[in-house]
C-alpha cells in the first residue's frame, strides 16, 4: 500500500514537474528601448505585437524614452543614450535599442553589442538580406567587416520650396549654391523675405559642405576647415549679410507661414508639411555640385548578454527588416524604407505616388552619406554649431571660426583615441 502511495506521489510529482507550462519556462522576454513617439510609436507597437503573435515563445516589452524637459535633459535621443550608458554601466542594458552610428562605435569598442555574424545556421543573415540594405546605411552599420546594427528609422536632407512663389516669380528650384544665391536675391528683392531660411547649426553647414565636395572628418581628422569648409561658412555669411538668407530657430514655421522661399530639412518633415502647408510646395534635392546627401536617424543594435535573448532580439530585428514590415513602418512613420526591395516594391511605389517627396528622398538615398561615426561626433557637432553662430551672429571671420572648431575637434579626437 505504502509502495503504491509512494508511486502515486512520485507520479504526481513528476506530472507536476511536467505541468509547468512549456511556454512559461521557455518564453524569452526581451526589452526594446526607443524614442519613437506618437504615430511612430503606434506603428512600432503594432509591428511588435505582430512579431509576438508570429513568435509565441518571445515576449517583447517596449520602453519609450521621453525627455521630461529637452532644455534641461536634452532631447529624447539624448535621454535614450544616457539610459543605455547607465544601463550598461549598471549591468542592466536593454536587449535592443535604437543607436546612432557614433554611439555604435563606442558600444563596439567595449564589446557591448552583438555582431550579426554571431547568428548561425537558419538564423544567419543571408547575403541577399545584406545586399538588400541601402549600401550607405549598411556601411554605416558595419565595423571591421561585420554589421553591428540594422538601419531602422531613416530620413535624408532635401529641399522644400514654395512652388507657388517660384511660379509667381518665374524661377526654378536652384540646383547649385550659386543658383540658390540668385534665386534668394530675387525672392528677397521682390518679396522682402529671405529665399533660404535655416537653423544656425552644423546641419546647414554640412549640407553645403558635402554637396560642395567637402567632408567633416577624413582619416580620423577634422577637415571641415579646408577651402570648401571656409567657402561654405563664407557663403552663409554672405547670404545672411545680404538678407538673401536668414537664420532662425523657426525656419519650418516661417516656411509654412510663407515667410521664406525654401528650407533644407530631412524627409521626416514630409508628413507634417502635408497638413501644415497651405500653399503649393515642392520637394527636391539639396542643391550643390556634388550629389552627396547627409542622412539622419538611428539603427537597431543588440545589447543582450544572454544567448536566448540575443537570438530573440535578432529575430525581432530581422522581422522589422522584412520587406512588408519595412514598407509598413515607412508608410506609417514617414521614415524612408531601409531596403532596396521595400523601396522598389509596388506597394511603396503606390504610396509615394500619392505622397510625392518621398520619391526625392529615395532617389537621394543613392547618394546618401552618413554622419561621422566617431565617438566625438556629438561634441564636434556642437563645436561646428558654435562656429556657425560665432561667424553669423558675432561677426567672427569665417576662416577663423571653422579653424577654431576644427582645432578643437582634433584635440577631442586625439583624446578619444
Amino acid at each position: 500500500m505504502l509502495k503504491i502511495l509512494s508511486m502515486i506521489l512520485v507520479c504526481l510529482f513528476a506530472s507536476a514537474m511536467l505541468a509547468v507550462p512549456a511556454s512559461a519556462s521557455e518564453k524569452v522576454n526581451i526589452e526594446m528601448w526607443h524614442a519613437m513617439k506618437a504615430e511612430k510609436n503606434d506603428a512600432l507597437e503594432s509591428l511588435v505585437n505582430r512579431f509576438m503573435k508570429e513568435n509565441p515563445d518571445i515576449s517583447v516589452t517596449t520602453k519609450l524614452i521621453k525627455s521630461p524637459d529637452p532644455k534641461m535633459y536634452g532631447n529624447d535621443y539624448a535621454c535614450l543614450y544616457r539610459n543605455i550608458i547607465q544601463g550598461l554601466a549598471g549591468g542592466t542594458p536593454p536587449d535592443i535599442a535604437q543607436v546612432y552610428e557614433n554611439w555604435t562605435t563606442q558600444f563596439v569598442m567595449i564589446g557591448a553589442v552583438t555582431p550579426f555574424s554571431h547568428f548561425k545556421g537558419a538564423d544567419a543573415i543571408t547575403q541577399a538580406e545584406i545586399n538588400d540594405i541601402f549600401p550607405s546605411f549598411r556601411n554605416a552599420c558595419s565595423f571591421n567587416g561585420d554589421m553591428y546594427a540594422m538601419p531602422f528609422n531613416k530620413s535624408i536632407y532635401v529641399m522644400y520650396y514654395n512652388k507657388a512663389l517660384f511660379s509667381k516669380l518665374g524661377i526654378n528650384p536652384p540646383k547649385t549654391w550659386e543658383e540658390v544665391k540668385a534665386v534668394s536675391k530675387k525672392i528677397y528683392e521682390s518679396e522682402g523675405i529671405p529665399g533660404l531660411e535655416f537653423t544656425p547649426s552644423v546641419d546647414i553647414f554640412g549640407n553645403i559642405l558635402y554637396t560642395s565636395g567637402g567632408e567633416f572628418i577624413r582619416n580620423g581628422s577634422a577637415v571641415f576647415n579646408d577651402a570648401k569648409g571656409i567657402a561654405a561658412m563664407n557663403y552663409l555669411r554672405e547670404m545672411t549679410e545680404n538678407n538673401y538668407a536668414a537664420y532662425s530657430y523657426s525656419s519650418y514655421k516661417d516656411f509654412v507661414g510663407g515667410k521664406a522661399g525654401f528650407i533644407i530639412e530631412t524627409t521626416s518633415r514630409i508628413g507634417a508639411l502635408k497638413n501644415d502647408c497651405k500653399f503649393n510646395y515642392g520637394i527636391t534635392f539639396v542643391p550643390g555640385e556634388k550629389k552627396a546627401y547627409l542622412y539622419a536617424g538611428t539603427n537597431l543594435a543588440i545589447f543582450s548578454q544572454d544567448e536566448a535573448k540575443k537570438l530573440a532580439s535578432w529575430k525581432l530585428i530581422r522581422f522589422l527588416n522584412r520587406k512588408e514590415n519595412n514598407i509598413e513602418l515607412a508608410e506609417r512613420t514617414g521614415y524612408l524604407p531601409t531596403t532596396l526591395s521595400a523601396s522598389e516594391s509596388p506597394e511603396y511605389k503606390k504610396f509615394i505616388s500619392s505622397n510625392p517627396g518621398y520619391e526625392t528622398g529615395i532617389q537621394a538615398l543613392k547618394y546618401g552619406v552618413s554622419q561621422p561615426d566617431t565617438a566625438a561626433w556629438e561634441s564636434i557637432r556642437g563645436f561646428i554649431t558654435d562656429a556657425v553662430m560665432n561667424s553669423l551672429a558675432e561677426g567672427q571671420d569665417a576662416e577663423e571660426a571653422v579653424n577654431a572648431a576644427a582645432e578643437y575637434s582634433n584635440d577631442l579626437l586625439k583624446g578619444f583615441k
Binding site: 529637452p70 534641461m72 539624448a78 550598461l88 569598442m109 565617438a375 553662430m389 571660426a401 584635440d411
Partner: protein, 280 residues
C-alpha cells in the same frame, strides 16, 4: 542685447575679454627677454603671473597686432586666447600664454620675482636653468580655453579672471578652465530672474579601466544650493572613455541672478562625489 555665445570658447579664436587686474595690492615681477631686462614690470594677479604684451613681444621681435575695434590680439599670426587683463591701460597676458603664442620658452623664478623669456633656449635647458617650471611651448590642447565676454572693458577693476582649477580622484581628473555668464546659448535664454553660467571643463579617465558612465556634474553656490546643468544648451556629451581618454566641452547651468557658484560636483556610481572648488 548682445549675444554672448558659449561657442566663443575656442582655442586660438577668441575675442579677448579684458577684465582689469584685481585689487590694488599687486605684486610686481621683473621681466627679462634674453639678456635684456625690460623697464616694464609684470604683475601677479590672483596667483597668475601676467606680463605686458607690447614691450615683451616687441623685445622678442615677434609680430603682433591689436585690433581695438574687434578686441582681438594676434601674436605670431595667431589670434590669442586666454585670460587677458587690462592693467594701467595696457594689455597683460599670463607669461605662459605669451610663451605659447610667441613660441619662446619662458620661466618664472619665484625666488627672484622675475620672468625670463629665452628665445634661444629649449624647454629642457630652460627648466634646468633656474630649477623652475618652464612654460609649455604649445597651448594646452586637452582643455578648452575660457569662454569670454565681449563686453567692452571699462576703467577700473571689474572682476577677477578665472583661475583654472583641477579636481582628481583615482578615476577622473577634471579641469575647469573657465566659468562665465552667458546671456544666450543656441537661441535659448535664461528665464526671468535667472542667468546662464557656462563652465568649461575637461574630464580625463586616469584609471586603467574603460569608464562607461562618466557621471553627472552639478554646480553648487555659496548658499549651498545645487543646480543641474541644462543639457539641451550645453556641449558636454556623455561618452565612453578609455584609459587616458579626455572629453571636454562646456556645461551651461541656469541659476538665479544672485547665485554665486563656487563648487562643481561630479557624481559617479562608483566613487564618492568629487567636489572642485571653483574659487581660490
Amino acid at each position: 542685447m548682445k549675444k554672448i555665445l558659449a561657442g566663443l570658447l575656442f582655442m586660438a579664436s577668441l575675442v579677448l575679454c579684458l577684465p582689469p587686474a584685481a585689487d590694488a595690492q599687486i605684486q610686481t615681477v621683473s621681466i627679462a627677454v634674453g639678456t635684456s631686462r625690460l623697464a616694464e614690470q609684470g604683475i601677479v594677479n590672483t596667483g597668475i603671473v601676467y606680463v605686458p604684451v607690447r614691450p615683451v613681444v616687441t623685445e622678442m621681435g615677434v609680430s603682433w597686432e591689436w585690433n581695438p575695434a574687434r578686441k582681438r590680439l594676434v601674436i605670431n599670426g595667431k589670434t590669442v586666447s586666454g585670460n587677458a587683463i587690462r592693467y594701467n591701460n595696457s594689455i597683460y597676458l599670463p607669461y605662459t600664454a605669451i610663451a605659447s603664442f610667441a613660441g619662446v620658452p619662458a620661466v618664472f623664478d619665484g625666488s627672484a620675482s622675475r620672468v625670463i623669456f629665452r628665445p634661444e633656449a629649449t624647454e629642457d635647458t630652460l627648466a634646468s636653468y633656474l630649477g623652475g617650471t618652464s612654460a609649455s611651448l604649445k597651448p594646452s590642447v586637452s582643455s578648452p580655453s575660457p569662454a569670454v565676454s565681449v563686453q567692452a572693458p571699462s576703467q577700473g577693476f571689474i572682476k577677477e579672471p578665472f583661475v583654472p582649477v583641477v579636481g582628481e580622484n583615482d578615476v577622473f581628473k577634471v579641469s575647469v578652465t573657465n566659468m562665465d555668464s552667458v546671456s544666450e546659448v543656441k537661441g535659448q535664454r535664461p528665464r526671468s530672474g535667472n542667468k546662464f553660467v557656462a563652465v568649461h571643463l575637461s574630464q580625463q579617465n586616469v584609471s586603467r579601466e574603460v569608464q562607461i558612465y562618466t557621471g553627472k556634474f552639478a554646480l553648487m553656490d555659496k548658499a549651498h544650493r545645487i543646480y543641474e546643468y541644462s543639457e539641451g544648451v550645453s556641449n558636454f556629451w556623455l561618452v565612453v572613455l578609455r584609459p587616458g581618454g579626455t572629453n571636454f566641452g562646456y556645461l551651461v547651468f541656469e541659476v538665479p541672478v544672485n547665485a554665486e557658484p563656487n563648487r562643481l560636483i561630479l557624481s559617479t556610481t562608483s566613487r564618492p562625489p568629487m567636489t572642485i572648488n571653483l574659487s581660490r
